[in-house]
Every structure is written in C-alpha cells, then in structure tokens.
C-alpha cells in the first residue's frame, strides 16, 4: 500500500510521520527513488514489541563512493539491531529497529545527528555548482521575451494566417516556441530552488550544532 508524502527538508518530521503509521499497524517495506512514495504493508506488532520500539524507522543521509563501505555501514547497523530497509535518492537510507536491546535512535549524540543536514547541504551544493556552467548554454532569461512570447514563433507569416491554417501552424510550433521563451526561466527557477534547499540544510545544521559549541 503506497502512501505519498512530500519529504520537505526535515528528517525528524519525516521520521515522525513514518512512525505514526507503524503505530497504526503498518511496516515500511520500501521508499521510492524520489522519497515521495512509501510502500507500507499491514503488520500486527505485539504490544510488547511496540513498547520496545520494534519497527521504529530512522533515516540517515550519507554518500558512499565504494560498495564495500556501504556494506560495512549496513553490517554495523545489523549487528546493533537495526535492519536496512531501502535507499532513496541514492544517499537517503531507511532503517528499522528489530532488536529489543537496540537503542531508540541510530544516533547517540546531537552532533552526529545534526551532521545529516550538513551532508544533505553538500549534496545540494554539488548539484547547484553543476548548474553554473550551464548558464552559458541557457542564459537566464530575457524579460522582453517572457512578456511577449509571440516573437518566439519563427514561422514566417504566422500571425497573418487565419482559421484552420493558423491553428495547424500555431500548434505545431508551440512546443518549440515555448521552449525558446521559457526554458531559460525554468532553469533559473530550478537553480533558485536548489540554492534555497542548500542554504536551508546548512542553516539547520549550524543551528543544531551551535548549542554544543557553547560548551564552557
């Protein structure tokens, strides 16, 4: 049974949402590639299991360049009572508590818990930086063109045509004209969105760790 949920940028809220379904008698089977769809299966946990937090789901965000490192990572969780469920977005990992003796969370101090946001910020930053050279190919946008997209139709004599002939010519050129007028703008909006996500991730990280920096 698939449930959709927009992840937003808060790990804690996401975990809370997923775990609210666990309490209602579901188990997380997998998360889709873009962290939008979650696949839950109905599952009856015993009262004792629920009390011990069995089935609790926690998330980590981490990039692995070598498969061997990822295997080592999963083994550490397995050994300490946390089963790997699935990966989403390449770097987002979901774990499920399977042992009564396991800790309540996969992080035991605030600093390491907050570091997820730092890694998320780095992920967004890498993509953001890749966009910059692309601005040479897609110059941001031209206000005049956006307000008067008509000039993006290159069919000679298009606006003098009438009736069916006009419709035919107009519709066949429409996708190309739209791309000419708006792709630069669209690209720029994506860039802004990524920049906002990057800034937000680093902001949350800084905010979470400033507390520990106040050690006197």
């Amino acid at each position: 049974m698939t449930k959709f949920h927009i992840m937003g940028d808060n790990f804690e809220k996401e975990e809370k949402w997923i775990n609210s379904w666990i309490k209602k008698g579901y188990r997380l089977k997998s998360a889709s590639s873009f962290a939008l769809g979650y696949d839950f299966t109905p599952y009856e946990y015993s009262g004792e299991e629920l009390e011990n937090g069995i089935g609790t789901v926690r998330m980590d965000f981490r990039h692995f360049s070598k498969k061997a490192d990822f295997e080592e990572y999963k083994a550490m969780f397995e050994d300490s009572g946390w089963k790997f469920i699935s990966k989403s977005l390449e770097d987002l990992c979901f774990f499920e508590k399977t042992s009564r003796d396991a800790s309540d969370d996969i992080f035991s101090d605030d600093a390491s818990k907050a570091s997820r946001y730092k890694r998320l910020g780095m992920y967004y930053l890498t993509i953001l930086l890749a966009y910059i050279p692309c601005f040479i190919v897609f110059p941001p946008f031209n206000i005049d063109v956006i307000l008067h997209p008509g000039q993006c139709f290159y069919t000679p004599g298009l606006w003098e045509m009438t009736g069916l002939k006009f419709l035919e010519a107009f519709l066949s050129e429409l996708p190309f004209a739209a791309a000419r007028a708006y792709s630069g703008l669209l690209f720029f909006l994506c860039f802004l969105f990524l920049a906002a996500q990057t800034a937000h991730a680093f902001y949350v990280y800084k905010k979470s760790t400033s507390g520990s920096q106040n050690r006197i």
């Binding site: 083994a75 550490m76 969780f77 996969i106 035991s108 101090d109 390491s112 818990k113």
Partner: protein, 102 residues
C-alpha cells in the same frame, strides 16, 4: 607536531580510542565502549560510522587486516596513543586539583 589541537576529546572519542588499543570492528567497539564506561556511554551505529570516518581521516586510527569483508577492523595509531596519553594527563591534573575542594 602540536597534539594539543586534538584536545579536549569528547567522551565518545576518548572511549573509542581506548577501545581500539586492541583491534576491532564497528560493533565490537560499540560493545567494548559500553563495557569500559560501565553502561554510561552507548554509541549508536550512525554515530559510530561517522566517528570512525573522522578518526581515520585524522589518522588517530588505521585499518587492521581482517577476514570479514563486511566488518572492517581498525586499531589505534601511534598518534592516537600519544593523543590519548596527553588527554589522560590533562584529565588527571584536573582531578588532582579538584580533589582539594570536592
């Protein structure tokens, strides 16, 4: 090399370095730290993996040959031992001074 840049160590780091005076893999370290701290310090898997990465990059621990490909082993380096000793001495001085009043 000036080792004071590594100090003070967090409790987690201190115990991990202590535990790695003998070779061990991630979960082994988690268990040993809990034992050494008499149950007071329990390191979770996510924290452990990050700590190992960090200590490796700072060369306070190094890989140790092992047979299990999924459970890589580590051991403290000479640098790690020196840092641990400096920290222990620092804590010792603090304790000696504190005993006069507490």
């Amino acid at each position: 090399m000036n080792l004071t840049k590594f100090l003070p160590l967090t409790e987690t780091t201190f115990y991990i370095l202590l535990a790695l005076n003998e070779p061990g893999h991630g979960y082994f370290i988690m268990q040993k730290v809990e034992e050494l701290s008499e149950g007071k310090v329990r390191i979770a898997a996510g924290t452990m993996y990050g700590a190992i990465e960090n200590l490796l990059s700072r060369k306070l621990i190094e890989p140790f040959p092992g047979e299990d490909k999924r459970r890589k082993m580590y051991i403290i380096t000479q640098l790690g031992k020196d840092v641990l000793r400096m920290e222990t001495e620092r804590l010792q001085s603090l304790l000696t001074a504190a005993r006069k009043y507490i």
